[in-house]
Amino acid sequence: MLKLKNVKSCFTPNSIQEAVDILKKSDGKAVIVGGGLDITVFPNPTIEQLIFLNKLGLTYIREDDENIKIGATSTITDVAKAPVMQNYLKGKVKIALTELASELLRNQITMGGSIARHHFYSDILPALYALRAKIMVSGGEFVEEFFIDDFYRNDLKVLMESCIVVGVHLNKYDDSFQFGSKRFVRNATDIALLNMAILAQIEEDIIKDISISVGSRPGPAYRFEQGEAFLRGKKLTKVLAEDFGLFTKSNVDVAKDMHLSREYRQHIAGIYTKEILLDFIGGVG
């Protein structure tokens, strides 16, 4: 079964500039290949050229004083196994990554391929939203850094006709920050029905800073800013966790689809935010 019937040529450019030039000249007929999962599972008959990034040196996980820097062709497995992720936010981001999809798919899914489209079915995007990731995009002669929220305000189709995602940077958060995420899914290779992630800075029990994200609602991931405003500045207690669960249930923006009603998604969202907050105070149950 020839999946990509109209593909005539493959390119493995030696530089980002070369990759971008091929992309620009292709008149929309070339596609950048990350892991190639979307490209092979949802074949687009208009595609005639494949651009592989294998030679661009974009498979890396590095750190400096402020950031963990992840190259676009790094897979979920690469990131989850990187030594720097073992203790990053108490290993919670690593756990979130190793819980999505199956090992077989995690070996193939790349960060760039997950970021370049705002897919509702990506579980990586809710985590990146909560972590306030910075997306690095290159047009060859320049590299531009986008805060994740701003990145997804772009018309991605237009942006990605002349640019490629080259990496993602994650802030190194100090010990006052905690991360937690939850995912509702029926089996490993099914699309998650809901996922939520929270990053919170808690000092002397007060929630100083917080980001909350919702994914698979169904719709692309987004920041739950109403929820953030509800929690910011409050003392984190079990009662607050309970109250916030109820607040989430009433205010989170989720929709129904053939898999799940809106009410059920809201209910689970409320349970998830409550449980993540309880986990932050070490008082589950």
């Binding site: 005539k8 493959c10 089996n187």
Partner: protein
């Protein structure tokens, strides 16, 4: 276009279509031990090892992995000299129709390479992407634990 692989230790060169997936290239060239089923990355029957890691070959563009080492089920053991995993799958009754078995064993092989002493949970998690309609998974888990023991004893 041409691609070169090392398949089960033997150097091979194939003429492929630019948009072909690895599963099709392998089967067209006689590697029928690699099974195709969903073609969507959901069942795991088409699993092969690429440079030692398991992947679904139905979602892997053949041109992307030009130059790689590919291992199919026949690369880890033969009828005459089966790998402990292959022996254990037979011994524990973990094979019924056998359609999922090449993929499942290759994923288990990769697991035991990186984690020689897996817990039931490690095994279940690793088998997340390999569907089996027949066995109910219990015998597969038993077989993988038995193989782990055999490998530790240097048996096989």
């Amino acid at each position: 276009m041409k691609v070169r692989y090392s398949i089960n230790g033997k150097k091979k060169e194939f003429e492929i279509e630019a948009g072909e997936v690895l599963l099709d290239v392998l089967r067209r060239n006689g590697y029928f031990e690699v099974k195709g089923n969903c073609y969507m990355g959901t069942c795991g029957t088409c699993t092969v090892l690429i440079d030692g890691l398991p992947y679904t070959s139905c979602t892997m563009l053949a041109a992307k992995v030009d130059g790689s080492e590919i291992t199919t089920i026949k690369g880890i053991g033969t009828l005459q000299n089966p790998h402990p995993l292959q022996k254990a799958f037979v011994e524990k009754g973990a094979v019924q129709c056998g359609f999922c078995t090449p993929g499942t064993i290759l994923v288990a092989y990769a697991l035991l390479k990186s984690n020689p002493d897996p817990t039931d949970d490690d095994i279940k998690k690793m088998l997340d992407g390999n569907l089996c309609r027949c066995t109910g998974y219990v015998q597969q888990i038993e077989a993988i634990k038995l193989a782990a023991k055999m490998l530790k004893k240097g048996d096989g």
